[in-house]
């Protein structure tokens, strides 16, 4: 039963590819992710916490320096000398030469980093898109090169872990240079970490090892939490990373890509 569906999906995706040569609208650089179910890492074991994700479009590539430069040129309030510190901290676009020039050492085709959640959200809004939710992002990132769920493949998991354990290289390569997955989405893993629209739903306190639960005085909600998939270390790492983020926070290995509803 599954094979014909796979074939049709493949054909659908290849038809996207055929039309990639047409004048570039945002959709030609986006991939369709079919509807799916995302199981959050930490769930209350007494209730069903699976998240139904409707099909959506996601950028094939992270947003590049060149693309973000165009955005700040057209939206002066997001230039690094203009932006409010509430929306982007001191290291916002710190490696750019100035407000409107990247400078000779910056690769225009590399993913833009040192970008805050507010800035990423403003960029997405400006182009009629939005940031992907964590569930959407994880669903798209779950695919390896050959299947929609790579986490069943130990090789894939160890490959991601190998990347997570490497320090970020000083200069980033062009987008599209790392992994291409089943959905023809590039660089979900292997280039930079990425913002999600609801990064703030990762709720942890200082003590989050094992099954300790979250402090009920600090966080209202489920009393006991347990992890759903202990083999999925990469997702744990992303969860921990997201739980440390703030909206104006920027760092050298954190970028973003956009998503869009299918209308």
């Amino acid at each position: 039963m599954k094979n014909p569906i796979k074939i049709i999906l493949l054909i659908l995706f290849s038809s996207f590819f055929i039309f990639a040569g047409k004048p570039q609208t945002d959709i030609s650089r986006m991939s369709l992710i079919p509807a799916g179910i995302y199981t959050p890492l930490y769930v209350d074991d007494t209730t069903d916490q699976n998240i139904n994700v409707e099909s959506f479009l996601i950028d094939k590539y992270p947003v590049t320096n060149k693309e973000f430069l165009k955005f700040v040129t057209e939206n002066p309030k997001w230039r690094k000398s203009e932006v409010s510190k509430l929306f982007a901290d001191d290291s916002y676009l710190i490696y750019w030469k100035n407000d409107t020039e990247l400078g000779p050492d910056v690769n225009p085709g590399a993913p833009v980093t040192n970008i805050s959640w507010f800035a990423a959200k403003a960029f997405a809004n400006y182009y009629g898109k939005r940031l992907p939710s964590t569930a959407e992002w994880e669903l798209a990132a779950r695919a390896d090169e050959k299947s929609a769920n790579g986490y069943k493949n130990p090789e894939y998991v160890s490959k991601i872990l190998a990347w997570y354990s490497e320090p970020t290289s000083a200069s980033l390569p062009d987008v599209g240079s790392s992994n291409k997955n089943f959905y023809e989405v590039y660089d979900m893993l292997g280039l930079v970490w990425e913002w999600t629209s609801d990064f703030f739903n990762a709720l942890v306190t200082g003590e989050s090892r094992g099954n300790s639960g979250i402090d009920r005085n600090l966080f209202c909600g489920s009393g006991s939490v347990g992890a759903t998939d202990f083999t999925n270390y990469p997702a744990f790492m992303r969860f921990a990373f997201r739980s440390s983020l703030k909206g104006n926070y920027t760092t050298s290995n954190l970028g973003f890509r956009c998503a869009k509803d299918i209308k």
Binding site: S15, E82, S84, L86, N125, N217, L218, G221
Partner: protein, 226 residues
């Protein structure tokens, strides 16, 4: 079998091509519309930013959270711009009305603060609750919540708004929340004190905390403001 797949492939490609062409067309329009919508917003937002030093957006200070420029509805259904909160010290929290455990305690903690201040001090203070559950928290629902919690509308307001604006506020306050499948929310328990400019001057984290420190901060700020 192979033939069948080939034929279906041909049909799918043709159909997909048509869909793509149509989608591209309507998508272009969408994007253009969105940019048109976004641009005036950008202009009004960036109109007043001054050059060097103390940057302001509109008439707000550089650290004022009111720069987010969002519109809400209060418990009476009246539109409230976030900037309207300027001018009073705000005792501020994010809640949802169907909350069975923490939110009534947060409201109670805020009421303890209210009860510990003199009527003179209270003239300069407003108590604001923002809903994180706009689907269910209509102005009427929030009004009922306020009545159940004995909140005095002379000093309290309860706001509901768009998800995107709620997310902006949450990100600014460091408030974390997550919708659960049963319709409830897991969320941080934070009471934030905003000064008259809308700058965060204090956050009390947790439920049933000692309010002495928070009270001192509010009182000191009130003295400076006069």
């Amino acid at each position: 079998m192979k033939k069948l797949i080939l034929i279906s492939a041909f049909i799918v490609i043709t159909a997909a091509s048509l869909i793509m062409i149509l989608a591209n067309g309507s998508n272009n329009k969408n994007t253009a519309d969105n940019i048109l919508q976004e641009k005036p917003k950008e202009e009004t937002k960036s109109c007043c930013s001054s050059g060097e030093g103390e940057k302001t957006s509109g008439s707000f200070t550089a650290n004022s959270i009111y720069q987010i420029n969002s519109v809400w509805k209060n418990q009476f259904g009246n539109e409230i711009n976030i900037g309207d909160l300027k001018g009073k010290t705000q005792v501020f929290a994010m809640i949802f009305a169907n909350c069975t455990y923490a939110c009534p305690i947060i409201a109670n903690d805020m009421r303890r603060i209210e009860e510990s201040l003199s009527s003179d001090e209270l003239k300069q203070i407003q108590f604001t609750l923002v809903s994180i559950d706009p689907e269910r928290d209509t102005p009427e629902k929030l009004k009922q919540f306020a009545k159940d919690q004995n909140l005095n509308f002379a000093r309290w307001q309860l706001l509901t708004g768009d998800r995107s604006d709620i997310d902006d506020l949450a990100a600014l306050l460091g408030f974390r929340y997550k919708k659960e499948n049963d319709g409830s929310f897991s969320h941080s328990n934070i009471i934030t004190i905003l000064n008259k400019e809308g700058e965060i001057i204090h956050q009390q984290v947790g439920l049933n905390q000692d309010i002495a420190n928070t009270l001192n901060i509010i009182k000191n700020h009130n003295k400076q403001g006069v």
